[in-house]
Amino acid sequence: MTTPFLSLNHVSARHGKSETYALRDVSFEISRGEVVGVLGSSGSGKTTLLRVIAGLHAVSEGTVVLNGEDLTTTPTHQRSVGLMFQEHALFPHLNVFDNVAFGLRMAKIPKSDRSIRVDEALELVGLTGFGTRDVSSLSGGERQRVALARTIAPSPSLLLLDEPMGSLDRVLRDRLVPELRELINRLDLTAVYVTHDRAEAFELADRIAVLSEGKVIQFDTPSALDAYPATDHVAQLLGHG
C-alpha cells in the first residue's frame, strides 16, 4: 500500500465551546487520486468533517495530515485545498472571470498566466465566453459550474465538495454528476465529496465513508457497502428496505 495522501488520526471536534461532539474519534486514510464520498443524514457530522479538513472548524483532538504534512493548526488559506459549497458562494460583486481568477490572484499568479488559466478552467466546465457575465445573471447549473471552475483553477491538491449538487433539480443533477466525475478523472484530482444522496455517492466515489452521530461507521467501496452494510442504519441510508 502507498503512503496515504490524506489521513485523519483520531480526530474529534466539538460544537463551539460546548461539551457535545460533532466528530468523535474519526480516523481514515485516502490515497492520491481517490474520490471519497461521505454519506450521512443531516446532523451526522459530514459537513463538519469537511470543514475540519479545510481548517474552518477547530480540531479538539487528533491530527490532520495532508501529503505527509501535519496541517492540524495550519490556517485555511495556507492549506491549498479547494472547497465548494452547496450554495456555490460565488462572490456577488465580481463577474465570472474575477470569481474564477480569485484563487489565482491570491497565489500571486502573473496576470497573463491568470487569464490563460481562467479560460482553461471555464473551458473545462463548458462555460467558454462567460467571463464578463455577472454572476447574478447565471442559472443554477451555470453557477455550479462557475463555482467548480473557481475551485479547480488554482490547482488545489485536494478538492472538498459539500453537497455541490444540493441546490440543483434532479434533471440538472443527473446531467452534471457524470460531467463532474469525468472532470475529476481527467485532472486526476483527489476529492472528498459530501452528500446525503446515495445515487450521487455511488456514481462518483471510489470509496464511501458512512457517518452517523459524528462517527465513521463504515468505510468501503460502493459494492462492498451494498453487499455488506455494517448496520441497519447503513442499510437504511443505502435505501435497502
Binding site: 495556507q78 484563487g103 455577472d134
Partner: protein, 563 residues
C-alpha cells in the same frame, strides 16, 4: 430571500405612467410637510438675512469668505467632520463584525444598549466625559479643549450608528463567501478587503453619511469639550443668529452649510448606489457562531472591552454620580426628584417630564411613521428598474437635509413664518412633535425602504396582472411585509424623540419640558442637589431608552434594516 436593490435588475417595465402618478401622490405629504415646516422657515430666515431694505446684501458673501476667522471655522468644520467620520468607521468596523459573526451572552441587550449614547443629551455626556478625560478625573489624562476630545465624543455618540447599520448588513452576508475566499488562499485581511468590504461598502456609506451630518453640525460637544479655540460652522451660525442677531452673516453661513450638506448627501447617495451589490441574504441566526479558537475568543473579548471603555465609562460615571449623595451612597437624588423643592415653576417633577416626553414622542412617532411610509413607498415605487429614478434619489436626499441644518436657523425661521393664522404655531405645542418628526423621518425611511425593497417585485406584478389596483396591491402585499419594519421604525422614531434636544431647545414653547430639557435645566443651577438630580434623571432617561430599544429590536425584521 433576494434583496432587490435596484442594480442589475431585469424585470420588465410596468405601467410606469400610472406608477409614477401614484408615487407622486405618495411623495406629496412628506414633501409638503418638509416644505412647510422646514424649507419655508429656513428660506424665510435666509431671505430676511440676505435681502433687507429692498436690496440684496451680496457683499456679505465676500466678507465671509475673506475673513480669516470664518475661513478657519469652515476649514475646521470640514476636516473635523471628515476625521470624526473616518475614525468612527475605523473603530466601529470590528464592532460590526462582532455582532455580525459571533454569538455571545448578552448580545441582544448590548445591541440595544449601544443606542443609549446616541439618544442621550449632549450636555450630560459631555460633563460626564470631562470627569474622565478632563484632567484630574479618572484617567488623569487631560484632553479638554483639544480636538481629540471632540473626536472621541463624536465616536462615542455615533459608534452605534455604524455598528448597527453595518453590523446588520454584514450579518446577512453568507459566511461561506468568506470561507470560500480563505480556501482559495486569501489571508484574513485580504478576505476582508476583497470580499467583505465590497459587500458592506454601501452600508458603510449609508452610516457614514449620518455620522458626517452629525459631526458636521456638532454644537454642544464642540462648545463644551473643544474649548474656545475650536468652532464649527454650527456654533458660528448659532452665535451669529441667537447671540448677535447678524442675520446676514448667519444666512451666508447657513447657505454654505446647506450647500455642503446637499453635496455630501448626493455624493454619499451616489457611492452607495454605485457600490450596492445584489446578494443572497441570510438570516442572522445562520451566520453567527460561538467563538471557537483562542484567536476568536480574543477578538470577542477585546471588542467587548473596547465598547466598555468607549461607551461604558462615561455612562458609568454618570450613573455612579447619580448615587453619590452628600450623605454617602444612596437613592437621595432619586428621592429628591419626587419632592417639589419649594414648588418652583422651574422645577419639573420628573414624572411630568417623563409624561411630556412620552406624549411628544408618541405624536412625533405617528407623524414620522405616516410620512415615512409615504416617502418610502414613493422612493421604492414598484421595485422595478425604472423605480430607481432621479425622483426617488432626490426625495431621499431631501429628507436627510434637515439633519444637516442648524437647529437655530429652523427655530428662528419658525418665529418669523408661523406668526399669522391659520398657521400661528409659534407657541403651539405641536411644534415640538413636528420638529422631532422631521429629525426622525430620515431614520424611519431608512428602515422602511430596505423592507419594501425586500418585497419581490414579481409578487407585486403578479398581483397587478391578477387585476388588483395599485392600492389593493399595496394593501395586500406591502403592508403585511412591512409591518415588522414599521414597528422597528416606530421604536426608533420614539427613541429619537425621547432624546432630541437641539431643536426642542430652540423652539419657542409653552412650558412643557421634555426630559432632556429638564436635565439641562437642573444642570443650569448651582448646588449639589441640582447636579445630582440631573444625573439621576439622565440615568432614568438611559433606562427608558434601553427599554424602548429592546422593544424595537424585538420587532425588528431579521437582517434587512439599517440602524
Amino acid at each position: 430571500m433576494v434583496s432587490t436593490l435596484p442594480l442589475n435588475q431585469t424585470s420588465p417595465p410596468v405601467s410606469s405612467r400610472r406608477n409614477s402618478w401614484w408615487r407622486l401622490l405618495a411623495a406629496a405629504p412628506p414633501l409638503v410637510f418638509l416644505a412647510v415646516f422646514f424649507a419655508w422657515p429656513v428660506g424665510a430666515i435666509l431671505l430676511r438675512g440676505l435681502h433687507s431694505g429692498g436690496t440684496w446684501n451680496v457683499g456679505v458673501f465676500g466678507d465671509v469668505f475673506t475673513d480669516p476667522t470664518m475661513r478657519r471655522v469652515l476649514w475646521f468644520t470640514a476636516w473635523e467632520s471628515v476625521a470624526s467620520t473616518g475614525l468612527c468607521v475605523l473603530v466601529a468596523i470590528p464592532g460590526a463584525a462582532l455582532f455580525a459573526r459571533y454569538r455571545f451572552r448578552g448580545k441582544r441587550l448590548l445591541w440595544s444598549a449601544l443606542l443609549v449614547p446616541f439618544v442621550l443629551p449632549t450636555v450630560v455626556v459631555a460633563v460626564s466625559m470631562l470627569g474622565i478625560i478632563g484632567g484630574g478625573g479618572l484617567t488623569g489624562i487631560n484632553l479638554n479643549g483639544t480636538v481629540w476630545a471632540i473626536l472621541i465624543a463624536h465616536v462615542f455618540f455615533n459608534y452605534a450608528v455604524v455598528v448597527r447599520t453595518v453590523g446588520s448588513t454584514w450579518s446577512t452576508i453568507d459566511p461561506r463567501l468568506e470561507e470560500s475566499a480563505r480556501a482559495l488562499g486569501a489571508p484574513p485581511w485580504r478576505v476582508f478587503a476583497e470580499v467583505t468590504w465590497p459587500l458592506i461598502r454601501s452600508a458603510v456609506a449609508a452610516a457614514s453619511s449620518i455620522v458626517f451630518l452629525f459631526s458636521f453640525t456638532s454644537f454642544g460637544i464642540v462648545l463644551i469639550l473643544g474649548g474656545i479655540s475650536h468652532r464649527t460652522l454650527e456654533v458660528e451660525i448659532y452665535d451669529q443668529t441667537a447671540k448677535f442677531l447678524h442675520l446676514d452673516l448667519a444666512a451666508v453661513l447657513a447657505l454654505v452649510q446647506l450647500v455642503v450638506v446637499v453635496l455630501i448627501l448626493v455624493w454619499f447617495g451616489r457611492s452607495q448606489r454605485r457600490r450596492s451589490v445584489l446578494f443572497d441574504q441570510r438570516s442572522a441566526s445562520e451566520t453567527e457562531h460561538l467563538a471557537e479558537t483562542p484567536r476568536q475568543r480574543w477578538f470577542v473579548r477585546s471588542n467587548l472591552a473596547f465598547m466598555a471603555l468607549l461607551l461604558g465609562t462615561p455612562l458609568f460615571v454618570l450613573v455612579v454620580r447619580s448615587f453619590a449623595t452628600p450623605d454617602g451612597w444612596g437613592f437621595g437624588f432619586y428621592r429628591s426628584l419626587a419632592d417639589s423643592r419649594g414648588g418652583s415653576t422651574s422645577f419639573v417633577p420628573p414624572i411630568d417630564a417623563i409624561g411630556n416626553s412620552l406624549l411628544f414622542a408618541s405624536i412625533a412617532t405617528v407623524i414620522a411613521l405616516v410620512l415615512g411610509l409615504c416617502a418610502a413607498w414613493a422612493i421604492v415605487g414598484d421595485g422595478s428598474v425604472d423605480s430607481d429614478s432621479r425622483f426617488a434619489r432626490w426625495t431621499d436626499t431631501a429628507l436627510m437635509i434637515p439633519l444637516g441644518t442648524s437647529a437655530v436657523t429652523v427655530g428662528f425661521g419658525f418665529l418669523i413664518v408661523f406668526d399669522e393664522p391659520p398657521l400661528n404655531l409659534r407657541s403651539s405645542l405641536w411644534l415640538i412633535p413636528i420638529a422631532h418628526a422631521i429629525v426622525a423621518l430620515p431614520f424611519v425611511v431608512r428602515l422602511l425602504v430596505p423592507a419594501l425593497r425586500s418585497i419581490d417585485p414579481r409578487v407585486r406584478e403578479a398581483a397587478a396582472t391578477l387585476g388588483a389596483s395599485p392600492r389593493r396591491v399595496w394593501w395586500s402585499v406591502d403592508v403585511p411585509i412591512v409591518g415588522r419594519a414599521l414597528a422597528a421604525a416606530a421604536g426608533f422614531a420614539f427613541a429619537v424623540s425621547l432624546g432630541e434636544f437641539g431643536a426642542t431647545a430652540f423652539l419657542i414653547r409653552p412650558d412643557r419640558p421634555t426630559m432632556p430639557i429638564a436635565i439641562y435645566r437642573a444642570l443650569g443651577r448651582p448646588g449639589v442637589y441640582n447636579f445630582g438630580q440631573a444625573m439621576a434623571m439622565s440615568t432614568l432617561l438611559m433606562v427608558l431608552t434601553v427599554v424602548v430599544i429592546l422593544l424595537i429590536d424585538r420587532f425588528r425584521p431579521a437582517g434587512v434594516s439599517e440602524f
